[in-house]
Symmetry: D2
Subunit: 324 residues, 4 copies
């Protein structure tokens, strides 16, 4: 049973990018963002970043805020990317002080997550990678990743760490660049509480089929959290769910249900020039309609009957949805 | 008013590829293929290649065949790729004998098309390109393309030539590799009867939005024929329509209607391991449902009302299709 | 005869991006940037953006500055992207006031360019495109582009307009997205002074071979300016020249020489986490070595002898460079 | 210490592809291919496929042949793709008879490899994947892969199994689609003799940096065999080494040396329209020159001095190669 649908507070940011560095929209305070999220019908969770959005000093006030607006905390990431202090990397940095800070922040985030009843902390290591060839000792970097993540995971076993893989950005090439690589890294730590935060758009960028990689990660008991968004395949556009990929999303939702994914679905959107409320509503409508579809009593039978019969399975889904 | 939905006879081929060179299915004669096409509800046209499928010697018998099976000829391509004789190229070959043969075949195809009431002959120049750097004199190749296509087009003005662009294959890189390049070439010939055969999958491979390039080509009065198929973006998978891209196809069908595209839609599928009948039926079902959608009286208003309002236009389409 | 090697002043910016919006480096004033450029051996030109870097009010002071530092102005772009005021587009915007402002700024830039003896003004229309399907009327947008660019070009015939095409960014999909599309648009204006500013990285993103598209544009007398940089194929990384692509750059430099390209080569780099001086020096070293190679008396003969003989041409270049 | 440079006999095939299914070149017998390979200076190994090229019936004669021509057997693959019998998959097929045949063939290949002193058998599972969404039960397929490969590996521990990952082809999407996924699968088997056959072109298609994934696989003691070839990033072009990627190959050769890769480098080319002798010679020349470069006594120091200093490392390599 999935826990519900949430949304990341960064969805309500200014929309900064390389060319329009101050973004397309005014800055909103955390409370203003939470207030906006609370107006979204169908959303029960909110996701934040530690320590920027919530930390030891602000936890009390933050708890009061989300209670007031009737939201649960559905996910927590550790901020290890969005400041130039991380430009040599975090867990994989050759600089031991950076690695120590990354591990220490992760442990603190795990404690904070536990306090809020959040079972997973996401690690997106976007600065652990390289820009140019010959810029790093890759075998050493891999060892640092394995050991650092293991050390953080040892902190407590009741909170999982979800590696959020991505092919590139900010570094031109990131080390944890596919679902397979993230899974291999999790296995290499030897820790059961290290797994994956699956960002669907990142999976598409890595030429994966989201349903396929989700199923493999569930089979390996390492799928802990999911970010939903969409893109045109080439870059991480963070568009509303369903704005590009349709059947792939239906298939993902089907297998999440079928394989008993028990975590949250969290909207991770970045609507540069779009109203974030619109972007969320478009996503919520699509997810809701598609969940209805895959929850139909005969959907299961339909899929199993048509499996391995080529495009007939595609037509079967369309016929159920659109009529024969 | 579109002329209808057709299908290329190659869709019923053996499914040969690089690894399984004798394909996945038995060989069917042209008549067997036509017979199969005739069973497809919703298909009224058939597309062939000159001179392999039909030529001066076989035209009489072919006409009888399609009449017998109740089909119209909806398109004709010139075979300038699928034999090693073309490995140095056709219209752009440095060898003048290859260029002459290409031009002469094209002229003969135009005559044959006119005889059958087919208004467009497609030119897919898949061997006009290069494998390695430094393999060709690109400026000279471009001039040969412009002059050769112009010379062929001069043959008769009542038949159009549709350049079917594609990024690569068989050559690692093809010269006519995007809708823009094809349009520029057509303009450079100075002939009004040179334009484009838009293969939707090729457009996706070229990182184009099919609806956008179709609209530009219609604005320039150079969109003469359309091949429908789908793919996973990276290569020319020739899958059933809608098996990957959904909204993009809705948008394409909308603009074709709105801008009064008056040619055929022709299925160009290559179902390696799938039954071609299934692949066609899946495509026909999808196209039919989506044409119903865009032909709804309020669809137009809906699009215009929501234009330029970000993702609201995406949600509007989904709400109309799936309910609010 | 090429005019020399220049560099864009934005190469010395803060390195802002979506995640680190205040960049990785301190802000430098225009004079500080010019001073830095002047220390680069092998660089004789500097490229700026109108009206941000130079305009009617600052032209006098700017001229004094570049004279003092011994640099020429080698290129000028019009700023039509990097502020949220352009989010509905510039030349293709549905809002006539945006279009008027774009045209008016372009005309003023042409005048300023003429004053400085710069023959080309670059138009990078990164906001003319779309994020979502159904967001624009593509045929109308194309007509606005054709007419707007024509109107700007009519202002004076002694300055050319170079359309700098790019597949995406900031808009998810840009209208002028390939060399072919840019060429078709230039042709559609009917103006001889409309052509292309070729950004080599953008060509790679569009799956083009830079040498091939450069040769076609030269054959059509529409290649006016060139931006040099490199990337890993998928996004516009703006890395130093040669840091990824090697033979393709050799081939480009060969055909530019052979086909008598007479404009500037201008470095358009964006070294997020790298020292811009290093990034420029790496580029200058590579370009210089490769120009020496293609200028060798026997290079021409070598290429012509090995043309159309498959990979032998690749080996011939390597043998000349590295020994047999 | 690497074992030497080899070449796959399929490099001397007819060059069949989807459009020219009988290829561009005449058929050569195995002996004719071996004879051709033996003329290549710098090649000491030959790679074959079991049971097509060599099997129990032909092993005696084959051994005599390679002895006669002075070649060693450097690699062996199991044929599990190139016949329509495999269209439902091999190790991951839902059909238990296909899985049994795959395992049984693999075990026989391991015995044959041991007889010839070949330490690794490559498993390229190109039919284990899917064409359409909803075509397979992904979690079950993953379990079948893990268990089947484990069962095969149990046969004998003195021969390794190298999973040759590839994003797609022949299936539109393959299960073992990245170096990370292959590593995760190898780990999941719990067998030390399951690892990876790294095909450099496949790594590029998967958006990996070959040097990086090689280093990770070496750190995990699971890099058993290497196929060399090159491509334009988007598809598996199997072009000569260095014909597209330059610095990436230098970096790969550097880390293979530095991390003591002890297997073979085997050319896996598919020169459709090129002479295979030329394609091999171009590759051999490039590999040899680049190995000389990375073996220079000061190369190591140079890399370590310039590491983590941005593009300076790129320039350092070029300066060593081309002069300052």
């Amino acid at each position: 049973m999935m826990k519900g649908l949430g949304v990341g507070v960064w969805t309500f940011g200014m929309g900064s990018e390389r060319y329009v560095s101050d973004g397309y929209k005014p800055y909103l305070t955390l409370e203003e963002r939470i207030a906006k999220v609370s107006t979204l019908k169908g959303i029960s969770g909110i996701e934040v970043t530690f320590p920027n959005d919530v930390n030891a000093d602000t936890a009390h006030k933050f708890r009061a805020l989300i209670n007031q607006y009737g939201l649960s905390l559905c996910g927590m990431g550790v901020e290890l990317v969005c400041d130039k202090e991380w430009q040599s990397g975090s867990f994989a940095s050759p600089d031991p002080r950076r690695r120590e800070k990354a591990i220490s922040l992760t442990r603190a985030a795990m404690d904070m997550a536990a306090e809020f009843g959040v079972s997973n902390v996401s690690l997106w290591l976007g600065q652990d990678g390289f820009d140019y060839v010959f810029q790093d000792d890759y075998a050493a970097a891999w060892q640092r990743l394995v050991e650092g993540v293991r050390e953080a995971a040892n902190h407590r076993s009741d909170v999982t760490l979800g590696l959020e893989y991505k092919t590139s950005e900010p570094k031109m090439a990131c080390y944890i660049n596919s679902g397979g690589k993230a899974l291999a890294l999790a296995q290499a730590t030897g820790k059961a509480n290290v797994g994956i935060t699956l960002d669907v758009g990142h999976a598409i960028n890595a030429r994966e089929n989201p349903a396929e990689i989700a199923a493999v990660l569930l089979a390996e008991k390492r799928l802990f959290h999911i970010h939903l968004n969409d893109n045109y395949s080439w870059s991480d556009d963070d568009m509303p769910v369903g704005s590009v990929h349709f059947l792939q999303y239906v298939e993902l939702l089907y297998w999440l249900k079928k394989l008993n994914y028990a975590g949250w679905l969290s909207l991770d959107l970045y609507p540069y020039r779009d109203d974030p409320i619109e972007a969320c509503q478009t996503s919520i409508h699509f997810v809701s309609k598609m969940q209805n579809l895959v929850n139909q009593p005969n959907f299961d039978r339909l899929i199993e009957e048509n499996r391995a019969s080529g495009s007939r399975s595609v037509r079967a889904v369309y016929e159920l949805l659109l009529g024969e």
